[in-house]
């Protein structure tokens, strides 16, 4: 009988097992997410070259990502990409835009008011509620700590 030490056994199973899905998921998220941010930075730099202010260029780059996401979502492409990219498309502003556009489309059959408009905020709503409330709380604290000058 072949004797195999624990270390050898671990090494053998490592070789036989497929690459961990976590590592692959992370690699894809890194490449896609990094790519999205890099794309936004490239738009910003291009617009600055066209003599827009950096503030405006940043806003326009963000708007480009949102509008592109809306178009790709409507074309059914975004969901297919997101299945592979995972957090790479969910964490950037593209994920936020998709969370608004996707239910707006999906619930269109229930009408524009109770379907599209109501469902639009099913995910974006919590994001805005908690984001704005915490920012407001911070504003209050900031006022008493530093703002009263």
């Amino acid at each position: 009988m072949m004797s195999v030490s624990n270390e050898d056994y671990a090494a053998m199973t490592n070789r036989a097992a497929p690459p961990s899905p976590l590592a692959l998921d992370c690699l894809k998220a890194f490449l896609v997410g990094g790519g999205v941010c890099c794309f936004a930075q490239a738009i910003t730099e291009a617009l600055v070259l066209l003599r827009l202010s950096r503030e405006d260029a940043k806003l326009l780059a963000m708007m480009t990502l949102i509008v592109l996401t809306a178009i790709l979502t409507a074309a059914g492409v975004f969901d297919r990409l997101a299945k592979h990219a995972g957090a790479g498309l969910a964490v950037p502003i593209t994920g936020f835009a998709n969370s608004v556009v996707s239910p707006a489309l999906e619930f269109k059959s229930e009408g524009y008011i109770l379907g599209t408009a109501a469902q639009m905020f099913s995910i974006a709503g919590p994001v805005i509620v908690f984001g704005c409330s915490s920012a407001s709380l911070y504003g209050l604290i900031y006022f008493f700590l530093a703002g009263r000058r």
Binding site: L31, A90, V101, E106, T116, I123, A135, S136, Y138
Partner: protein
Amino acid sequence: MSVVLTLCKAFLVGGLLCVIGQVLIDKTNLTPAKILVLYVLAGVVLGAVGVYAPLAEFAGAGATVPLTGFGFNLAKSTAEAVNERGLWGALEGPLSAASVGVMTAVLSALVVSVFARSKDK
């Protein structure tokens, strides 16, 4: 050359922020919706304690495009609003900071839902 460096920094930091999100998705039971909320809250807190501003300075879109950047922008703009308008700024700041992103998303969602229908159906 400096533009290439700027792009690389955006890629690196943006990619890493997404990897953190991917680990959260794979290793916890958090749904993507909860992760979005978590990221925005993290951005507000990191912005409030002054950690995020240097990161945004360093990484540009790599720090501002992920949703933590959205939260950071909320905190930053609210502080600016408080500087200008006093306590009113705490109420006026957050929604005005969010306005461009939210309105762009809402308007494009409306336009798209008029012209397209869900692919699932």
